[in-house]
Symmetry: C2
Subunit: 404 residues, 2 copies
């Protein structure tokens, strides 16, 4: 029998009432003839609460201990979900990451899945039970509990779907699916019935928070269709898959934006080999994720390097960059109020005109472009944060995304 | 090196501040040259909160799921304790019951420890680390999490002490130790510096709630000295041990009382074999614990059977007893407002005079005795609950327990 994997995020599990509502949905999926494996996140803001508690006893909580602490949040929601299903006379068992055997490496707080053991879960399914699995967590070979970092529960669900050979993984959340743009910014934004893995990856990386890129990548690797949909109603959501006509579609599928952008510029850098390494190695060591990097050199032999980071990393990145720059005799500037606006669609890069149309639209609206970056299926402009709503609305209209 | 096992109850772990205070105590024990293994309960009333949550999703939560749910409470306190110690630069690791290998049978919510695996904990101690262990929980051979029922964390600690060959197990709580009577009832009550396992068992079974009988039994079996003491100051508590002069001491050591007593009387029962079984078998099946049983027969061939249960079990017990009695044509009465008052001391039974002195004291105070039961080292009178303070105070004075 085909195994359906469903994942419910914390926003779908904010109360006992919501847990019972979700349990009823699971029961119906099972009665429709599916073997069902359900991955759950911690309820509501439990994880933030546990992190707060940890910081009350330690300024810098040990990562191994923090992972074990945080893992309790998913165990609570998994056992409550199992009890709710049991109360509906649906045979069920909950399994923690350790009990199921979601094996990871030892990088606490950002562990990677090495292997998903399927013996126990398949055994429970054969007994006719639903299996509720704690998302976000795994276990090392030595039996130590790890967490998978941001987007962890999505990744757990997709990994389970891949390991069990599921026909589909359903990701339930508090939004209806993937839209052509953020509906809070563009009221005309349209729900996309389907999107390719690559397009979804770019949308997610460029700011669409509905799903974590990591889980999308994994789904693409194993060709597992993923449906993002709401747990609050019955309407279909967005199917993320690898449809074969994707490559030739050549049109803009959506507009993503991300206002969590800060820029650091290092000016007056001697233009010689090894400079970029000197600047970026300390950032990598400190775990600061660098996004867009632009380097320019002038005739006088001086270079200027600009790069963007998340705003929460700005202080740390600035400090590290300042130290290197002092040694190099360079000047450092920063700007915290930037944003990324991207158009995403398969084949954009190879089709002329999209970039020109994007720049033209922004220009018509007197929106200044700070930096431009592109990939095969995306064009991104860095602009002032304050210009984001107008930019996104204008681009949505230009590319006629309100129309099917 | 000798391994000191300490256990801290929920009342010692009510806040981040209390966790840091306890961590400091653990650090000092370690710096005094001990290998330290610490067993922790869930913080404050976490367990009750989790039970409440479970009952919001199910009227009758599945026991396996409930055990896994409740186990998260101890995991939270163990990891927080480890973080607090780490912040004090004390090398430390937390281990859950499953990680350590506290193997139990499969009786969820009241599992019994089958075996304590010591490889992991000894390995961590050899690395120079303190080990923080989640109390109250174990794991089956199949990897399912169980809880040990009432007094579970005390039992975890004593079992670890036994398995590790510890010279002593320290049980930290919010009282100073074991008193000659409940200090809230008898202001003159004196802290006992030591008490035998048997005496402690009787005190605990008869209502002194400071320690669970089950853990005391285990300590006696392995001759592990147990010290009950306060986590709120540095003064010594009560050492529970098997001192060799205990048997000949023959004096009253303490007065225990328990106001959680209800009595059911079945009158007009035909006096023939099998009646007691007919009454008590359904109670045992329903998990109702029956305490004192008294049966009397009259010349007319009718018997009367009385027995006591905890008040929380009265409704269920009454219902079951009524059904049997209807079949037998017997009458059922019940009384919920009773209490047990006991004098406890090694050799009481074999030394004449103690019983007479106890009954005389109660008589002088016009306290009516409903039922009397005795063991080798205890005499218990069941009295009206309202008479308890006067009875306990009078007996405390009669047996001169305020004097060393």
């Amino acid at each position: 029998m085909a195994v359906l994997v469903q994942k419910y995020g914390g926003s779908s599990l904010t109360s006992a009432e919501r847990i019972r509502a979700v349990a009823d949905r699971i029961r119906r999926a099972r009665e429709a003839g599916n073997d069902v494996v359900v991955v759950v996140s911690a309820m509501g803001d439990t994880t933030d609460e546990l992190i707060r508690l940890a910081h009350l006893v330690s300024d810098d909580p040990d990562k191994r201990e923090l992972d074990l602490l945080l893992s309790t949040g998913e165990t609570v929601s998994a056992t409550l979900m199992a009890m709710a299903l049991e109360a509906m006379r649906c045979p069920v068992v909950s399994l923690t990451g350790a009990q199921l055997g979601i094996r990871t490496d030892r990088f606490y707080s950002r562990a990677r899945i090495v292997d998903v053991q399927t013996d126990r879960v398949v055994g429970e399914l054969k007994k006719g039970r639903c299996v509720i699995v704690t998302g976000f967590q795994g276990v090392t070979e030595e039996g130590d509990v790890t967490t998978l970092g941001r987007g962890g529960s999505d990744t757990s669900a997709v990994a389970l779907g891949c390991a069990l050979g599921s026909p589909k993984c359903e990701i339930y959340t508090d939004v209806d699916g993937v839209f052509t743009a953020d509906p809070r910014v563009v009221p005309e934004a349209r729900l996309l019935p389907s999107i390719s893995y690559e397009e979804m990856l770019e949308m997610a990386q460029m700011g669409a928070r509905v799903m974590h890129p990591r889980a999308v990548e994994l789904g693409e690797l194993y060709s597992l269709p993923i449906e993002v949909r709401s747990s609050f109603h019955e309407r279909a959501g967005t199917l993320i898959h690898g449809g074969d006509d994707m490559e030739v579609r050549k049109r803009v599928r959506g507009i993503a934006h991300d206002t969590d952008v800060a820029k650091i510029t290092v000016a007056g850098v001697p233009d010689r080999p090894g400079i970029a390494h000197a600047i970026f190695a300390p950032l990598a060591e400190a775990g600061v994720s660098v996004d867009v990097i632009v380097q320019t050199a002038n005739l006088a032999g001086n270079a200027e390097i600009s790069f963007t980071v998340a705003r929460s990393d700005l202080a740390a990145a600035l400090d590290l960059t300042q130290r290197v720059s002092n040694e190099l005799g360079a000047q450092v500037e920063s700007l915290a109020t930037l944003a990324k606006v991207s158009i995403v669609g398969t084949g954009l890069q190879s089709a002329p005109g999209y970039a020109a149309k994007m720049f033209g639209t922004l220009s018509e609206h007197n929106i200044n472009i700070d930096t431009i970056t592109t990939s095969d299926i995306r064009i991104t402009c860095i602009v002032e944060e304050s210009a984001v709503p107008e930019a996104v609305q204008a681009l949505h209209a230009t590319f006629e995304l309100d129309q099917e």
